[in-house]
């Protein structure tokens, strides 16, 4: 869809702002601190990251609490709400040349933001099941419906994770029920998904959180619904001494499973719009994107020059987790979470809060 512009983008001829604090709103541990430090040094600003647990929480705080940031990390399904609420400012494409230069062609003008009026892509990911193969013996790929591996993990009760994200959690339940439309507004379909989640809560008792990139390597979680980048991030930064990365395995539904990307946006309230544009552009520099990915975040940037297969071959990333990166083909064939209709949003939200109330 083409999003409306409510104001003019900042002019490319303006001088960059100087000094002060540059504020980013993001998931926790989702940006490499060294990369941020380098950016701060380059632009002469102090970079501070404020974290949120879910994009719903982020939207709710941005819109009611009047929080002010320069750059906001978000997901495409939040985009029309963010734009509708005038929380974002339109981008000046002259200030983000790296989009065209370095990013996969299919995301240069993505369907959720035709012409990239408000967003540039950050990283791509799939949603699947991650587990500790030294503690639990499962094989989702061998099942007719791989998601059942999580529903069957009753022996791991209490040591499991469900993503704290209403779209991901209910969406997974839909796929497990063989219902591929992740953007349905149908109350019946949503209720079927809710029932499946309740069954999961009953039998497997998952923790509803997003910290498995720490808790899976630490062994506090043995199996759970994870984002692909969590496994690589866990392998890069959080494995205890003496535990090899090969104890972690990952599976995702190759056809029709969630594959998507997160986005970087410039906040309407930004007091440093030029630097914010420069930050977006900076994150799309091949070397920066590489450092951010390989040395910390574990989520892969959609960079033309990045050859993920080579990273596994060279042992820079653990080979056992090679399915935790997203190929361009998989991305193109992916199933994503899109903006819901108003009724749809309400129905999902209602089911989610019902689930959270146990």
């Amino acid at each position: 869809m083409t999003l409306p512009r409510f104001s003019e983008p900042v002019s490319a001829s303006e001088k960059p702002e100087t000094g002060g604090v540059f504020k980013i709103y993001s998931y926790a541990d989702y940006l490499n601190p060294d990369v941020l430090k380098e950016f701060g040094k380059r632009e002469g600003v102090e970079v501070k990251v404020t974290t949120f647990d879910s994009v719903d929480e982020a939207f709710s705080k941005l819109s009611t609490a009047g929080l002010e940031f320069d750059v906001i990390v978000s997901t495409p399904d939040q985009l029309s709400k963010l734009v509708g609420r005038k929380l974002l400012q339109p981008l000046n494409e002259e200030l983000v040349p790296n989009l065209e230069k370095n990013i996969w062609e299919e995301i240069q003008s993505p369907f959720y933001d035709v012409g990239s009026r408000y967003t540039v892509p950050y990283v791509v990911y799939t949603t699947g099941i991650g587990w500790r193969n030294d503690k639990v013996n499962v094989d989702p790929a061998g099942l007719e419906n791989g998601w059942n591996a999580l529903w069957d993990a009753t022996s791991q009760r209490g040591k499991t994770q469900l993503l704290d994200d209403k779209r991901e959690a209910l969406g997974m339940a839909m796929l497990r029920e063989g219902q591929p439309n992740l953007n349905t507004a149908s109350p019946e379909l949503i209720n079927i998904a809710l029932a499946a989640l309740n069954e999961l809560a009953q039998n497997v008792r998952p923790k509803v959180q997003i910290s498995a990139y720490e808790t899976l390597p630490a062994g506090r979680i043995t199996i759970g619904q994870l984002w692909s980048g969590d496994l690589l991030s866990g392998a890069i930064s959080y494995l205890p001494k003496g535990t090899p990365a090969s104890v972690m395995s990952y599976w995702y539904q190759a056809e029709g499973g969630p594959v998507f990307n997160d986005i970087l946006t410039v906040a309407a309230a930004s007091t440093k719009p030029i630097i914010a544009h420069r930050f977006l552009n900076y994150m799309m520099e091949p070397q920066v994107a590489y450092d951010n990915f390989v040395n910390f975040v574990g989520y892969q940037p959609p960079q033309k020059s990045l050859d993920a297969a080579k990273l596994f071959d060279e042992g820079i990333l653990p080979k056992s987790l090679s399915n935790a990166v997203v190929t361009q083909e998989a991305y193109a064939a992916g199933n994503g979470f899109l903006t819901l209709t108003a009724e749809g949003e309400q129905a999902w939200e209602k089911a989610w809060s019902k689930f959270r109330a146990g």
């Binding site: 404020t50 609490a65 009047g66």
Partner: protein, 310 residues
Amino acid sequence: MSAVPAEQAATSKPARRPGFSLGNPWSKPRWLTGITWVYILWSLLPVLLAIRVAFNEGRSRTAIDGWSLKWFFGDNSFSVFGDPALQDALTHSLLLAGLAMLIATPLGIMLAIGLQRWRGRGSGPANVVALLPLVTPELVFAVGLFLLFTTLLSTIGLGTTAQVIGHVTFSMSFVVVIVRGRLVTVGPDVEEAAADLGAPPLAVIWRVLLPLLAPAIAASLLIVFALSIDDFVVSQYLASGAETATVPMRIYAQARAAPLPSLNALATLMLLFTLLALVLAYGVFRFMTRGEKRGSAIEQIASIDSGGGR
């Protein structure tokens, strides 16, 4: 939360009769002694262990693992003074506590003196309002302030100012309880004498009452500091971004994942500041009330009961 009047422990301590003989059924039952000490161990050992882990050499936070100060001062980015986020949290906690202390104490003292003397229409509800924050669940209180600062007072908005206001609001009631307790101890005699000698009311307050209240004021300052630094719910609801995160907020956010001993180190530092404030409060109180009838200062502080989660 709240508030057993400060005096009760002191005023009516029973006279104890010495010399109960062994085998006397009135002597203390052993099992009570046992339960009490087991309880005390249970209540304090976990915290002591968490402190010990802060001094670990290794990364484990579930087991004792060598000795070092590296999680406090290490030059890597994982120590309290190496990780800007942890350091900011500590600074911000101290800032909030300092401001809350300086604002809540004078407001609370005036309120206590006023409520003690003021008779007339409105004084009844005023008394209830002054004490209600002590018993209001912190969540209700925090939701109220959150909605206030995001609607009617959105010009103030969330952030440090809102957090200070929140801390002042709940700790002011504690000051009222402490100061009123002291007002009861001091009694009206001295003031009346001063007034009878023709001193104008404000002079009575300034020259007579305030010096008499000094121990309670000192105790209030430090107790507000301790309440504020320990607070979690109000700080979290009124926070606006990374620069407004406090130590308890950091602990809460990271405890659910797999944190490093630096989180224990941060918690240890916070505890150190709280206890320092309390020991000071106790010392000052003892010093200033020396020579008075010996109500135990410990029990006075004991009786200022505070609410959960704070």
